[in-house]
Symmetry: C2
Subunit: 343 residues, 2 copies
């Protein structure tokens, strides 16, 4: 993290914040990180024969999160989870994260004995970073009327071995990690809680009995271990992460691979709290969707997470929807219809 | 650039914009870029023995630029120039750029025969990217009430050879590329032009005779060639780029190196339109500041840009200002006092 540029919040608050981020980031694992926060750039040293995977994800207040709905720890967790999930989808190991953060001044100031919003945001972000041995290596900091956080993840993967969206072929089978629809169901529950408190500015306290139900939305777990396992075994012919919802993301996989797909409705691993529509169209589950040869021996679980076969890849059917849902009432076109926040 | 996540602008406009960015980016040089826009991550392949330099720079409307002051081409150019300048300061060659863009819907829509703001922003960004053989390899896109652009630059440098802020030693001499204060002087002139048109929403047209005077502010040239030259010759013991202004940035160099510095006021290479205060404190010149041994043979110009010796590094003087300005009236402490936009 460089000294913030012109236009950023200046004075003691900003310097103190920069110093604190630098100090907190310095404690993390630094394998592959030659130089972290404090110079013009960070320096990353990939191992011999590796290439670098890079992804950026923008989180904007009122779009990707709401200050009156989401605890700051969850905002930090979710911002990083999105980027880690992109690395998982390529089968890359995380090397470093970068954070560009624009914040209203009041979010950087402690109120009474309550730590500043930004401190709690960093708590959530750095806890997940630690879990995945991902040092915060740099970024930028600016004062902004709107809270925005752009997360950049850099990962490494042996050259030519990354799992791409473009490798699926007709005849292959379609798999998904974990359960689907939990994030959408959790968001719906969070919206009810928030509305019940009638426009208070602070996010609702989550009753203990609801924590598990809201976790898929508030604290999604990127499938890094599962992505690494699949890539090392060479099992997946194509992969991506479910950020926009199965109907939308499977459409991307089909487009990039030049194929069509069939999904068996009866096989969908619904989250216990989720409807079928949430499992099909609800975004932000951050599970992995992948394809494998019909003869591949795909296990029932990888690193403790269930793997479910949900369908198959078929030849491209021009002029027809890329994805078909097989139901007891017969096949139905499954048009992309990803979840929209707060709509 | 992935498909935009939930919460982004949806529908034809967004898909069309993503497709257009992908198409425009595909035309660029792709050395070192194994996989660009369209998958979960981009894949970069550094050469053997190289490490990667990574930097992010946030540009926020009303902070780093103004929609009613700056032509969109200049906003795009300046956003990329900030990142390229960080690579220049390390002596890194650019490998790829990433763009996370949050925009109000109206900035993505053409009005009559006028192309959309975002098209012209990309014109400016991609023209500078082409000049420096830097492909746009990915990013993110979202609808946002406030225009924000986070630029990520990835560069490559032979392992252990990057120019750092921390290498300066007492007795070394202090150099700067180009001229100082031109960006601050240009911004002041732009503010006059904008104010003369009394609150119109569109940025002022720049009269031809003023184009050269405003160029250091609107179209700063990152010193990539000079940074590469210095790094290859091993001449610079420390380096950074002047983004916050000489008084602030030289302070950073002193802090990171554990030294103090003296600047000869009479030697400062003032831009013809700039005052001494603008040269000392005006930010965004994006010139390189570097140190070299007193016995090093530093040329008068590198790749067509003038090099000026402006002072020297001295032992750390605890309890005193890190930087001293030597003037005809005697030495004066030079406190950090970087430029603030629009203040």
């Amino acid at each position: 993290m460089k000294q913030a540029h012109s236009g950023a919040a200046r004075g003691r608050g900003e310097r103190a914040l920069l110093d604190e981020i630098r100090q907190r980031a310095a404690g993390a694992s630094r394998a592959g990180l030659r130089l972290g926060i404090g110079d013009d750039c960070a320096l990353l040293a990939p191992r011999r024969g590796e290439e670098l995977a890079v992804t950026t994800d923008l989180s904007i207040a009122g779009r990707h999160f709401r200050l009156d709905w989401h605890q700051p720890e969850a905002v930090g967790h979710r911002a990083l989870a999105r980027g880690l999930s992109d690395l998982a989808a390529m089968g890359a190991r995380p090397v470093a994260a970068f954070l560009s953060l624009g914040l209203p001044r009041e979010l950087t100031v402690a109120t009474g004995r309550r730590p500043a919003w930004v401190e709690r945001f960093l708590d959530g972000l750095l806890a997940l970073a630690k879990l995945h041995n991902t040092p915060l290596a740099g970024g930028d900091l600016a004062e902004s009327p709107l809270a925005v956080a752009d997360i950049v993840l850099v990962g490494a993967v042996p050259r030519g071995r990354a799992m791409l969206r473009s490798g699926a072929k007709a005849g292959e089978l379609l798999y998904v990690t974990g359960a689907l629809g939990g994030a959408a169901a959790g968001l719906a529950r969070l919206a009810e809680l928030a509305e019940a408190q009638h426009g208070r500015a602070n996010p609702p306290r989550i009753p203990k009995k609801l924590a598990a139900q809201l976790a898929p939305h508030l604290y999604p777990q990127p499938r890094i271990a599962q992505g690494l396992w699949l890539r090392r075994r060479g099992l997946a012919t194509a992969a991506l992460d479910l950020s926009d919802g199965l109907s939308t993301d499977l459409g991307h996989l089909c487009t990039e691979s030049g194929v069509s797909a069939e999904v068996d409705a009866a096989r969908l691993p619904l989250h216990p709290a989720a409807t079928q529509a949430q499992a099909l169209h609800g975004g932000e589950d951050y599970e992995l969707l992948f394809t494998a040869s019909a003869t591949a021996r795909v296990p029932c679980s990888i690193a403790g997470v269930k793997i479910t076969r949900i369908g198959r890849i078929v030849k491209l059917r021009r002029g027809q929807p890329a994805v078909t849902l097989l139901t007891p009432q017969g096949p139905q076109p499954l048009a992309p219809h990803g979840w929209e926040h707060f709509s």
